[in-house]
């Protein structure tokens, strides 16, 4: 029975694939959540949610490549998550590392606790350095900073026009992937938020959280930034 189900599943997915590659649009969302304690320690959760494109992804996963790009298998994705987990384990001050992979809904998460905000920087530092070297980009290698004396939290980001160039190098069809994509960051604090520098950021009514939602296209074209300086009360 299992074999028949698998066969039928594959058959229907192939039918869908032909169709979805033509008509279905893709979209995904990236959610970055940080809960910061007064002493600068905290927890972070990064979520890649591709659930809205699950029909297309289930079909695409049947292929070896799409539009000339290799389609990663479940094993490839699991390996990448494992690599990320192993990378986190090597960073001092990072603990309680967890990863999840939900292939029914295509949602992947990675979470950890950190002793101080500087530890978070180390998470992405190597990746950003590699990216800068490989693509000759100029992204700042420091992403987060927290000054406990002034109670000032910063999300750092400098736009590099190479993003736009790389984007326009993509084929028209591939660019569409970013049409409905979005990035959301939520930073939660123990202290109240006094001010935020990013005009697109919203402060919660209880003044303990800041939400920033940006569509991927604005980020790619440099129209909006994820950079934010959040001043907390003492």
């Amino acid at each position: 029975m299992y074999r028949i189900r698998t066969m039928i599943k594959k058959f229907t997915q192939y039918v869908l694939l032909v169709f979805s590659l033509t008509f279905c649009t893709s979209c995904f969302e990236i959610l970055e959540e940080i809960n910061l304690n007064e002493n600068g320690s905290g927890s972070m959760l990064v979520t890649f949610n591709l659930s809205k494109s699950k029909t297309k992804l289930a079909s695409i996963m049947l292929l070896d490549s799409v539009n000339g790009y290799k389609v990663p298998s479940k094993d490839d994705i699991n390996l990448a998550l494992k690599d990320a987990e192993n990378h986190l384990k090597t960073i001092k001050g990072i603990t309680n590392i967890k990863k999840t992979a939900d292939y029914q809904n295509y949602i992947f998460t990675l979470s950890c606790d950190f002793d101080k905000v500087a530890n978070l920087d180390a998470v992405f530092q190597d990746l950003i350095k590699q990216q800068n070297k490989k693509e000759k980009t100029n992204f700042n290698t420091s992403n987060f900073s927290y000054n406990s004396d002034t109670n000032n939290f910063q999300r750092l980001f400098s736009y590099d026009s190479n993003i736009k160039k790389s984007f326009y190098k993509l084929k028209g069809e591939d660019r569409k992937i970013f049409n409905d994509a979005s990035y959301t960051s939520i930073y939660r604090f123990k202290n109240s938020v006094k001010s935020v520098s990013n005009t697109n950021a919203k402060v919660s009514p209880n003044k303990k959280a800041v939400l920033l939602n940006i569509d991927a296209m604005s980020l790619i074209l440099g129209e909006k930034s994820v950079a934010n300086t959040i001043q907390l009360s003492k």
Binding site: M1, T55, I107
Partner: protein
Amino acid sequence: MKKAILFTSFCLTAMFVSAQDLISKIPSNASAVVALKGKNFTELVTTTEFENSKLGNLFFKELTKKTDGKVTNLESLGVDVEQNFYYFLQNEEGSLTHTFLVPLKNKENIVALLPKRTQERVEADGNISYFTDLYDAAVTMWNNETLIMVIYQEANTYDDYGYDDFYGYDDYTITEEAADAVEATEDDMDGVIEDVVEDAAEVVAVEEEIVVEEIEDDEEYIEETVIESTESEYDENGYYNEDYYNDDYYKKQEERRLEREAKQEERRKENLVTVIEKAKSILTGNYAQRSILSNKDYVSSIGSDKEEASFWINDFGSLYMEAMPAIFGSSGINNPYAMFNFDRLYGGMSLTSKLNFEEDKASMKTIYKMNDEMAQYHKAMYNGKMNSNFFKYFNEDQIQGYFAVNASTEGTLKAYPQMIDAMFSGVEESNLQDIVPITTRFISLLLDEEAIARIIRGDMLFVMNGIEQKEVTYTTYEYDENYESTEVTKTKMETIPNFLFMVTSEEKEIFDRLMRIGAKEGVVTFENGFYQLNIPDVPFSLNMLFKGNTLLIGNSAKDLMAISNGSFNAKVSSKHKKLIAKNSGCIYINGKYIAKSIPSDMVPEAYKEKLNYISDNVEDIEFKVGKMKGNVLEGEFILNTPKGKGHKNSLAYFINMIDALME
């Protein structure tokens, strides 16, 4: 019938020869002929119309660039595009001759296009001019009316090792002689060993060991000595041996190499003389009654002169057998098909393809004529009977396209083993001629063809029934007023294609039992008169129903429910009935419906205008493979073109479409 063919042949010959068509230069024994009917093309779209089109503009822009401004239009190309162009293949004693025939309007223009270096190599002989390529044994020759290009492909004379005194890269005969010597010595020594061992049978074991050991040592010594003498430019460690170029072995090889090169050069020159003579005879000659138009097979295959292009290949099996030496060498050692009985499968097979641009359709018809044996197998395999019940579940007003197969499972299961046996008959390699029939016989004994045909008779129809907006779920996040996120399930509409797959089967019992198991396992549910199978990762359930002698599988619950309770609104015209039932297989695509059914919000603004043009100008596409008629299997691809949209014929339609999409 014969009289009709002869009469047609006579008419065509008279017509072509009187018009001095280049076909009169194609000999009757040509194995393959390709024709591009410039006359027919230009009657559909004039040269001026083509030049003024966007496609023509682009074509000449590129050509102008590549020819340093020498070619700006068809006139300046020097070729008479209003006449017919041909290619033909001749196969004589294993050597292949490829000839291209191009009608000229102005030879000076063609000559001007040649690179200066080539122009300097042009030789003249009366009103004939030509230049040659010695290495490829090719000649390009022209007079005032015609340009021909002849390429001669000589039969390879490789021996079984691929080396000989003509093509060999090195002389291995010395090494081979030495290897033979070793082999001979080994054989001799084996005899000695055997004799000695036999003689020593009565000697004590220790003595016996000593004798054999001594003999083995001797054998080893002889072997080493012989091998050493044959080693060349590399020493035993694989390092380059500097003395190699100074020794006699190298000098001998070098002498032989020079000898071979001289022979090759001589042969090329001989070949070139032959090619030049051949080209001259083709260019100046006129086969008249001996032309391809006197070849009954060609004339009966090609028939009328209405097509714009045609391809004909006569007796594929013989051509293959004769051309094999030219392609794979005389021994056939490199021939990947050597393990098949090619002649039994493809002997007597001919293939004809005709491209036709008519007023309301463009079509490509291919006629495949096979030998009696193959025809018998194909008849059995394609002797299907389309289930007329399929049409009860078919509504042509809502179809995007369909795919039908009208085969016979029973016929296929019976004919296929016989065909496989035939494929390997007489193949001695690896005992295939005996092993294959044993295997196929066992398989035939194990299979009950009739019983299998009761499960799947062989006729099936897959229909794409339009697209439907369906609600699908996805996961996202909601944030409370303090921006605490919660995972929520939302719904969105997704465009899903509806399909219905129909298969003829007599085994309802098997289906019912399978569904019962599925229901017990919780995989299948029964609702509204049909079974539903939910598949993870797929945004719809698969619905299954067995009605009469038909198994129906589809994703539209609405359609399956209607079929189950007998309220399905069926509609089928004779056009679709004929296409599905009268052919062995067919594919139909309703281009207009597809273009119109794409939701406009899915189409980027920039493409909307183009899509509107396409949906307004596109018609349906058909591909069909007919039933066997005698020994002939016919396939046809048809692209219908719209009427009343300003396209004067199907060729003009293509140019107009390309122009519109280039904007």
